[in-house]
């Protein structure tokens, strides 16, 4: 049996009914069924965007970073400072954050694409600590340890106010995440996306077929930083706060945990991982504010023991098993 290559590739990139169902549910469920959870839902959408940005570099391009929050935080500060200085229009704030974080990513990228393994892990971690220290030092600009004050987010399109009920926040966060998701989905099915996977699999071979590995990696790192920056900016705009911790190691580590939890290199893994982690934390810490992280720890260990390819990987395998039988 011979396969039609065009058909197979188109099939691989096709939009599945599950995807459509997922996004419709993402729109409807919080508004209709869980209106009290809109604040949480907004932050999940924002963190999922951040997580997707990490998936691009970690899952697809194989750049393991423990400092990606630096770009999230840079975006948050960019949008926050812009707003605190008098320009609170949200969409242009996002754009500004994307450019600033992307630029930072491009510069740091020169360094990142030249190291691997433990050194890469530690350099990204070190950069993340440096970012915190720099932000703390320039407290005139960033507000230092007290956090940035005076952020005022204008109405979305001049119509919808960002209120504590979270209707606007969620629509905004979901809308932006959806657009970014579409962009990333395109990217991973493009020749560029394929090249990234190939570099992750075997950089020696990509060099031998002529690929400029570092240029591709730097480009995706820039793009990923920019997206992380957008996510940070959304958090700054919807919560009207930015703190040093948004740049820090804990934020970086947490987002990596969410990604691995969901499964790397599949975009939806980032989304599912974020949803499960954040919902679990919200529910567990609501039930047991003092020792909730005991159960989070158990959850993480269980996932590794029983679902070594993340939750989505396990679901995919289960689905494959069921369709075979």
């Amino acid at each position: 049996m011979s396969t039609d290559p065009h058909l197979w590739l188109r099939h691989k990139a096709r939009v599945s009914p599950y995807e459509v169902a997922f996004w419709i549910a993402a729109l409807i469920v919080p508004y209709v069924l869980l209106p009290k959870y809109l604040a949480l839902a907004s932050q999940i959408a924002i963190m999922a965007t951040f997580c997707i940005s990490l998936d691009l570099i970690l899952g697809y391009a194989g750049i393991i970073s423990l400092g990606h929050a630096a770009f999230f935080g840079i975006g948050a500060y960019a949008a926050g400072i812009l707003s605190a200085r008098g320009w609170g229009e949200p969409l242009s704030g996002l754009l500004f954050a994307a450019v600033v974080a992307g630029l930072a990513g491009w510069i740091i990228g020169f360094m990142i694409v030249r190291v691997q393994h433990l050194a890469l892990l530690m350099i990204t971690l070190g950069l993340s600590f440096l970012a915190v220290e720099v932000a703390n030092t320039f407290d005139g600009l960033t507000g230092g340890a007290d956090g940035l004050l005076g952020i005022d987010t204008w109405k979305l399109f001049g119509i919808w106010k960002f209120s504590i009920w979270g209707h606007t926040s969620y629509a905004y966060a979901l809308g932006v995440s959806f657009l970014i998701f579409l962009l990333c989905r395109r990217l991973v099915h493009s020749p560029f996306g394929l090249t990234l996977e190939a570099i992750r699999e075997n950089p020696q071979r990509t060099t031998a077929i002529g690929v400029a590995n570092r240029r591709h990696l730097q480009w995706v790192f820039t793009l990923s930083s920019s997206i992380a920056g957008i996510a940070g900016a959304m958090l700054a705009q919807t919560t009207k706060t930015v703190s040093l911790e948004s740049l820090g190691f804990q934020n970086s580590a947490e987002i990596a945990v969410m990604l691995i939890l969901g499964g790397t290199g599949r975009l939806y893994g980032a989304i599912v991982g974020t949803i499960i982690f954040m919902v679990a934390r919200d529910q567990l810490s609501g039930m047991n504010p003092k020792y909730w992280y005991f159960w989070i720890g158990i959850l993480l260990m269980m996932v590794v023991l029983f679902m070594p390819r993340g939750i989505l990987g396990a679901m995919q395998r289960l689905a494959a098993k069921m369709s075979r039988s």
């Binding site: 729109l27 504590i164 009207k240 504010p289 003092k290």
Partner: protein, 391 residues
Amino acid sequence: MKRTFVPVLATTALLTVTLASTSALAQKTVKIGVTNVYSGQFADPGAQLDAGIKLYMQLHGDTVAGAKIQIIRRDVGGIAPPVAKRLAEELVVRERVDILAGNLLTPNALAVAGVSKDAEKFTVVMNAATPIITTKSPYMVRTSLTTSQLNHHFGEWVAKQGVKNVYTMVTNYGPGTSSGKSFEDAFKKKGGKVVGADKTPVVNPDFSPFVQRVAEAKPEALYVWVPGGTQPPALGKALAERGVTPANTKIFGQGELTDDAALEAMGKVALGIITAYHYNVHRDTPLNTRFVKAYRAANNGRDPDIYSIGGYDGMHLIYEVLKKTGGNTSGKAMIEAAKGMSWESPRGMMSIDPRTRDVVQTVWIREVKMKDGKPANIIIDHIDNAKDPDL
């Protein structure tokens, strides 16, 4: 998909707003949403604050003005304003709390202030000490302290004692730098001179190199600010090891510097250190003695500290305000009732400034002296009705 988006948004918005506004009436319980830190690096102060809240309710019952008090706790998990903000929003939207409380750390409290203002909820800051916090919501009061309240008056007091020059060493983050600045400003205004200023890192502090710099500068006096917990004893040890002691250098600091653990670590070299604080565990008044005894009984013998007293007095204020409003929990009614309220706390007399809604209290000046064969903080002076100078 985009076409259906706006109507869905509009209807659900309407629906929830109506639901939320109708159910706020006719209630017999008053819900207090506490955003606090229960895990991570700041878990311990968070636990002390929480113990203060618990003890007050244990001693005064959980019913006030005919309403049952219910506490709903949320863990911010550290310095995380977006989380604090979301939790406060959820407490309002999801749990329908009447009052917001807790607020251990400044960045979190600032985030909660936004919610307090938008939702018009009476909000008590039980610890965070940066002055501006209460200006961010008209429904916010504070029952802890402000950094400048203590350190401004302390700076003036030190200058008044004839000290001419001082070297300052503070932790390089908000509370540290702003305390240091208040102290320096007040001290300089009264004719003093700052001969050196160092900032120590927040985490992983090894104080010896900093103390060494002080030792070499040989200043007349040293002013120190470090957060409570592991740092005071560590600093105490470093000072003792490098021979920077009151015998050759006057040492001033905020009260954390000479807490019991630090005194134990320093031993007799601590004698003569002078600190300013708003709460003295060992101050011998009937009210305080009862409080400390009950606190120890409830917490495995642990002493109360400033976090505990912030939580305790915060609950006292809420109870008294509820009594005064007859159970009305609207933000406006409660904040009006709170303004100008004064009472005797285990820490001493305190009140809420009607203008700034911030705490007014006595600043106690203490010196480490021998008592019952052990170094202890002995009160040598006090500044009554001290307000924050900048608010």
